[in-house]
Symmetry: C2
Subunit: 377 residues, 2 copies
Amino acid sequence: MNLAELETPCLVLDRAKMMKNVAALHARLQRLGVGLRPHGKTGKNIDSLRPTLAGQPGGITVSTLKEAEYYFGHGIRDIVYAVGIAPVKLDRVAGLIQKGARITVILDSVAQARAVAAKAREHGVTLPALIEIDSDGHRSGVEPGDPLLVDIGRILHAEKGTALAGVLTHAGASYDCKSVDAIRAMAQTERDGAVACAEALRRSGLPCPVVSVGSTPTAFFAEDLSGVTEVRAGVFLFFDLVMAGLGVCRPQDIAVSVLASIIGHQRRRGWAITDAGWMALSRDRGTASQSVDQGYGLVCDRAGGLLPGLVVQATNQEHGIVADRSGKPVDWAALPIGSAVRILPNHACATAAMFDRYHVTDGSTEVVDVWHRVNGW
Amino acid sequence: MNLAELETPCLVLDRAKMMKNVAALHARLQRLGVGLRPHGKTGKNIDSLRPTLAGQPGGITVSTLKEAEYYFGHGIRDIVYAVGIAPVKLDRVAGLIQKGARITVILDSVAQARAVAAKAREHGVTLPALIEIDSDGHRSGVEPGDPLLVDIGRILHAEKGTALAGVLTHAGASYDCKSVDAIRAMAQTERDGAVACAEALRRSGLPCPVVSVGSTPTAFFAEDLSGVTEVRAGVFLFFDLVMAGLGVCRPQDIAVSVLASIIGHQRRRGWAITDAGWMALSRDRGTASQSVDQGYGLVCDRAGGLLPGLVVQATNQEHGIVADRSGKPVDWAALPIGSAVRILPNHACATAAMFDRYHVTDGSTEVVDVWHRVNGW
């Protein structure tokens, strides 16, 4: 089957580009001497995750317990659930552990540590936990230097049912960096914060086997990961326009795109209308705060070649408005009614989440496979 | 089952509020003497659609052919697919017609009219079409006064296989109105544009049985719908913060909310962290351009009562950051780790689309039913 035969909108994954992206991160981390714990939240699919594990230790990261159950069902045992644990989810975590998974939760409070210990005892399992560190001020975690770190560590180490697995941080603020130098500095801060906390635990006589850091930007630009035991990253798998805006990739490296049909020419305004609205592209406007605002995405032809100047300027639920950045009308002859375009996303995780499957190509417009996603919770 | 037992994040629908919203629009349209053709794109579910049809002509609107197939499977025959038709979708439309559905497509070009006629002949069916009118300049459609209108009308009327069903417009720009007076004026413009086009077709000797207008804001504030045969609206079913910002409803009328757990206290910053990020709330920031920016949503307690001052200030994929608008720290004691909150959405269509089901309540925290959604295309 060819992309020309697919009903629109649908999600296209260029496996050839994906494999290059994976190889690029593997090479980078090999030079730094650290293994990858890939994040399954981007692909939400086993076929796209497997290549990221090649030559790596084998553990993964997930953002939902549904992902954890799915990947465990496909034979992956070592899983970090990297969202601060809610007590209401602990029965489900314990259920996975009883089936043979090693699920590590993360937390940043005494209340969570005690809830984990209580639930582990109730189920008769051991529930390993990482303490989340706030290395960049963007969200959750214990700040380096806060005595809370050792308080939580002591509970996890002492209580029956829990195990102190180490520390974990995520420099999500790297997405807002304005230069590669700023990302390099952020990577150093991320590493330093995690390692400082690991050392604080060890000075207090507590174990800290795992020192886990990562985000796609910091993973690509880190120069020193001494003391770090693993790097986590997700969006590198597909890349997107936010990553291109940060200088982590080029637009032509982006492996996912939304196939859309041209359904109208709004000649007075110079627009072409597509059937890929925000329901297909997502509402993510992550490039809006970057130096080049890519609207709701850049426009390619069906074969994936960028159409210079064209951008999805606005969306409604099932409509996208394609305009030329220059303000000139789009080239109607190049975009006839019924023709197809491919839209590169601002944020691959958000756009892919609007679909239940990938139509997989391999550098051409032939569809070589269909891969399903595990959406939801 | 009670909301307290549900794993988070999940989507809650208060049926009692929904029924009041439906009654409000029915009463409004009854005074204006026009029937409702509800839009199935908001609920994407038959149980929430049925009450909107009570006392109405019985036809519906959809935004995807998957919705059309689903609703037809639940006995609804008269369906307008209100996204400009892409030729690649016509086989699927013809298939529904062959099964007994009356599917009306919309279009705004000669190319589409000819494609519809050709496909109808190929399948031996009659494919009715409405001409889309651009009454507000926001997206698609033929402008009132453009001779293209009659050109398309003649093709639809003359060609074997098609039928000219009438005209349709959607004043989507009403979402950007800054006052109720502006919405009233927009409603008049929407009505006037559609009726003018209907009259232009009739003056040319063409039929125009249907004059279809609508958006939730214009449906609520229209004062004159003479010459209009039906009103379309969708988001009135649930309402949301964008509609509250427009003055169409109050926050306490909003029938859908996302149930979330408190998973962290970021004391240095004064935040509470929840497990409802943009994957649950959507990336929709529709209130950002309104006079009161509601962030990613307003925060209620588990019973649905608004917690004054609290707003979801930022989101990541599976994290929401709850802050007090005043800049003061949130009240930690009122939001203990593991407690639950409910988030009111900016845009009900976008937030509901992140879930595959509703947990239905009826004015209390007891879950009385589970309703499934038909997402995708």
